[in-house]
Subunit: 217 residues, 2 copies
Amino acid sequence: MPSGVDKPALQVLHCLVEHVGPFREGEHLFRAHEAFGAIFAVRGGTVKTRLIDSLGREQVLGFYLPGEMVGLNGIHPDHYPCDAVALDSVYLCRFSFRALETLAARIPGIQQQLFRLLSKDIGVASLLAGDFSADERVAAFLVSIADRFAARGFSTSALHLSMPRSDIANYLRLAAETVSRVLRRFQDQGLISVAGREVKFTAPQALRALARNVLTT
Amino acid sequence: MPSGVDKPALQVLHCLVEHVGPFREGEHLFRAHEAFGAIFAVRGGTVKTRLIDSLGREQVLGFYLPGEMVGLNGIHPDHYPCDAVALDSVYLCRFSFRALETLAARIPGIQQQLFRLLSKDIGVASLLAGDFSADERVAAFLVSIADRFAARGFSTSALHLSMPRSDIANYLRLAAETVSRVLRRFQDQGLISVAGREVKFTAPQALRALARNVLTT
DNA sequence: CGGCGGCTTGAAGGACGTCAAGATTAGTGG
DNA sequence: CCACTAATCTTGACGTCCTTCAAGCCGCCG
């Protein structure tokens, strides 16, 4: 996770880490309003975060792939601001935040890294914030997932979506039918090839061009 | 600003504070990509933050009223991620961030406060993130501005919008014409009374009911 | 095999954007 | 004090993108 942390610091870190899992599809890592106690690094599987509003409607906030951190946004009010749900079999590293925080006071690298991760989460919301077309949103979503997998060494030409269309649609603030139609059109245009949740990139440049407006904002 | 900071700490703070201004309408507090050096507290006037994308289009990110902090989101990459522009005559307190950061290492209250302010900025984006109707967005905008003024002791029944319709529309991801139409309809429905940039709240409960879905997310 | 949930596809309707033209206001100089 | 200009704001007509509603399809598991 941190690049600028020396060896003794890493050894202290190991004391804080706890391997947990597996969580099965639909199980909760934590729930909204629970006391904030830890942040999690995904080792395997996929996690979605979501919020249920007063009318019972779900709002998908984000997806977390292997190598990414979940739960950071609970720091402020000392309780988690959303649910975290496993989308398939999920394995995690659990970091006790109390210990991490006191550690941060002693090792400047840690504190900076926390600030960095926090700030990064602010920027991610921009995928939703702008007034983008359905095409741009879906393209940006695919590119974003692909890039994050690629950063962890997975294939760059194909990927598996572990979430249903309805979750993608909800996350992108579109109707599930619209996502379906856009994927179909992308396939007809030769940009991708879709079979259920398996996606192959046949014209990655064109897809990236569509996504550019969204992701560079 | 901080409630849990004792008196000697406040005295140190005074050394970091520098009164600046006035900035006139259209003047920049800072610009995107500039080196990050300070955060600002608004003493008087209104500030908007915005981003100009590669195609030259403006994206309004937020408005800052007296008593609020601008520039926090520049912490991570060590340069400001957006422009900050005065909407009228603006007076500020300038906090050198380097000094603030070293101070934070010694006084735990400060560090917590910084984390708190950072996390708060994450949540604000939710006004834009959801798929809300134009009515809900405009209502939420008005309520949000009114509440923030109220928190500083200003009138709760009326307010002055210091930004043009186009900025409101851009911020809410709507067309300026739509904002105009919604305000007109709100007035026809007896919710508010609009005269240019002056807004009176004639049925605050009803307006708040409209905004609820947006703000409680 | 039969049912169920997720995915796809089509048709109709609505919400908002765009375009274009006025109305109002503020600011400026005579 | 008044006329003139230039933004800003409003209002209307029309088009478009996306949602909604409804039905059919596919794969999976009992």
